[in-house]
Amino acid sequence: MPQTLEKIETTPEERFLTAFHAADGTTLNGSNSRLHTLRKEAIERFEALGFPQRKAEAYKYTNIQQVLKRNYTLQLAPRETSVTADDIAPFLVPDLDAHVLVLVNGRFNEALSSIGELPDGAIVTGFADAARTHPDLVDAHFGQYADHENDAFIALNTAFTQDGAFVYVPKSTVLDKPVHIVSVVSAEDDLMLQPRYLFIAEENAQATIIQTGRAITDTHTFTNAVVESYAGRNAHLDHYEIQDEGPKSAIHLSTQGYQHEQSVVRTNAFTFSGEIVRNNLCMLPDGAHCESHLYGLVLGRGDMHVDNHTVVDHAAPDCYSSELYKHLVDDDATAVFNGRVLVRQDSQRINAYQSNDSLLLSEDADIYSKPELEIYADDVECSHGATTGTLDKEAIFYLQSRGLSYAEARALLLVAFARDVLDHVKVEPLEALLDTYVTARFGPQA
């Protein structure tokens, strides 16, 4: 009877727990013993926490349950893939000389990757491979920064961690070329992916990491990704995340960055498509004189729902942080921004700035913005600003008075609005690509 069926229908949590217990010790075992211990801890925490409910303040504007309830398959064992180099080619950045690492359905694919030559001691490889070949490095950092104790998504990812990407730059080493991690989804069924990323830049090291995600097939996917990044003393780490997996992909990305003194970390998040995209980005400058820069650009259209939650947790004095997130929201799309700046007690002489600007381009677009300041030290300069509105009529009029058509004037202003974020992209070929994309989207022909 249908009623009984409804009653025995399992929750998403139960499905994961069942899958874990079935696969534990076999496919989820692996050779790394620390990973094995963490997995057990994490699944227990996940069971206790459960996915955030609609009433949870942090998920107030994002109904993540809606996409979680789909019956995704969990590919716990690697599968043969038909993805070829030709499939990957369009996803590469033109003119970009990079160490390219390809993930197919969250798994490192060595044949498709072209990592090339690396400086002495540097490592760019799949996460599973790193756990096997460099257990000391993985053990020292894995699970140290992302909080699997209190975050259900991180706990779940930790429990199911199998593969992903691993980048290690040893002391006083500079990676001249960026690392480009291309994630490709190719599936016949609705698929759940849980890739794990670990990026380590030791003292005085420098690295640039670009992550792009694209789907080749047209199934629903849910990607629950976790990125842990570590910047040693005086290290420089630039991170670019370009989310464009298509309208059927749901993404929950948790990024936790740890910074030692004098380190400089820049993160850039670009979201161009997705059914529901939720990014939790947390930076922890834990030593004096750190710099943290957070940039984000969301181009919303269709039914997209993009939710960026950022936290800059100033645990040490004399640091600087700046944040700029911009939204261009069209059609039925929704953009959510929650930026939190926390200055802990005795973290004196902090300068923290945050700005969130949104343009609503249609009747049905929605914006929810919540910039937060939480300050427990007095010798600080912290500020945030948030604006929401539509294009300035006077600016359009001015441009029209100079001979531009309405469409041209509008396009010029929209592209200029987005360029404020693009200007912070330090990798030229990438900036050019993104600029082309934005111009094509909003330019006069669009």
Binding site: E57, Q345, D346, Q348, S358, L360, L361, S362, E363, A365, D366, I367, Y368, S369, K370, P371, E372, L373, E374, I375, Y376, A377, D378, D379, V380, E381, C382, S383, H384, G385, A386, T387, T388, G389, T390
Partner: protein, 487 residues
Amino acid sequence: MSTTQTEYLQDVADADYEHGWTTDIEADTADPGLTEDTVRMISAKKEEPEWLLEWRLKAFRYFKKIMEDSSQYPEWAHLKYVQPNLQEISYYSAPKRKARYDSLDEVDDELLETFERLGIPLQEQKQLAGVAVDAVMDSVSVATTFKEELKEAGVIFCSISEAARDYPELVRKYMGSVIPYTDNYFASLNSCVFSDGSFVYVPKGVRCPMELSTYFRINEQNTGQFERTLIIAEDDAYVSYLEGCTAPQRDESQLHAAVVELVAHDNAEIKYSTIQNWYPGSKEGEGGIYNFVTKRGLCKGDDSKISWTQLETGSSITWKYPSVILKGDRSVGEFYSVAFTKGHQQADTGTKMTHIGDDTKSTIISKGISGGRSNNSYRGLVRVNKNAKNARNFSQCDSMLLGDRCGAHTFPYIEIDNPTAQVEHEATTSKVGDDQLFYCHQRGLNEEEAIKMIVNGFCKEILAKLPMEFAVEARELLAIELEGSVG
């Protein structure tokens, strides 16, 4: 930071409450506890009409459910305190000698002295043109002046229990229309046990001839005070209402859960100003008033305007969000606030602006100053509904920190569903600048004078919004608060 400044700010943070003493008046106090009988007793004591008792009971039946369900208690605010035990509170207290007074002469001398020590110009009011006072000592309205003059203008200004008897059709129509008894935990509680409060009705086209003012005092030990204020401005009417408070020193925490409802019809304007200086608790953070207030105004008619101005310096815990629902086209909502916390005080205060009508405007200016070990949070919501065309909002929240053990926080929520909205929010947090202090020193001002001047300048914008009499008092209050025991 120089030692002198540190010492000075320490003194400020340690300063004792100036208005801490109790008036010894016999009072008629109900046994602690909240049951249906309590609600019936309060209603009976107030000689309330049947419909009002029914209303209270309906609220009580609802509240009973949420009282027993701990998940209903509002825990989202950035506050740390022990939840008050509602069964330990006495819900009714009235001066015993007489339930009502016809003139000032009948009022207890001791009571009048209380007001004088607080600096309430009750007696002088008669000579001082422009201010009518409805003094509330605990729960019963003690004296009302200027009634005659207001009557001539057609303005009704009386206690809410009087209004329920004399103008039942008005009270029935508007009470709970802006804040229903299901609104939130404390509004529900208030709806069952509200003791007294003010009622103002300004008829069509009338500009209220004077500033209306009520001073609230919590006096009897262990009695929470649950006022309920209702202000209605008909078409083209104008009224300015002043509320000011001080309370004597107590060891036990006292719960205060008031409800204030404002209704502005077409082209009407209501200006509501508050100075709140209740007992903030001892130096160790013991005692003090829990101030959990629900205040909301409804701009019901087109071109209406509601303006909240507040100076919050007292209470150990403040949980207060005076809000405006901008329903009428071209309606305007304003919120100006200065919140000063020191010692172990905690404040979570702000506003909610809900834009519903077309071409609505709202302005939010909030200044928070925290010292000692206090925590001061701004929490505000600007919501533009789907059909609210051309809504405009400007919000500014500035925080000043006067020590390294206090906290200043900003939690603005911005929800925009209409593309024609133009919403701006900005917030800053900093301490008194060393360069500012240096400049003042250079001009011959000492630390204390300099800090007073800088803080005063920081708040000036808001204090200037208060009516004349209040502005002076407010500046004084802020100066006294800062002064502490500095010799």
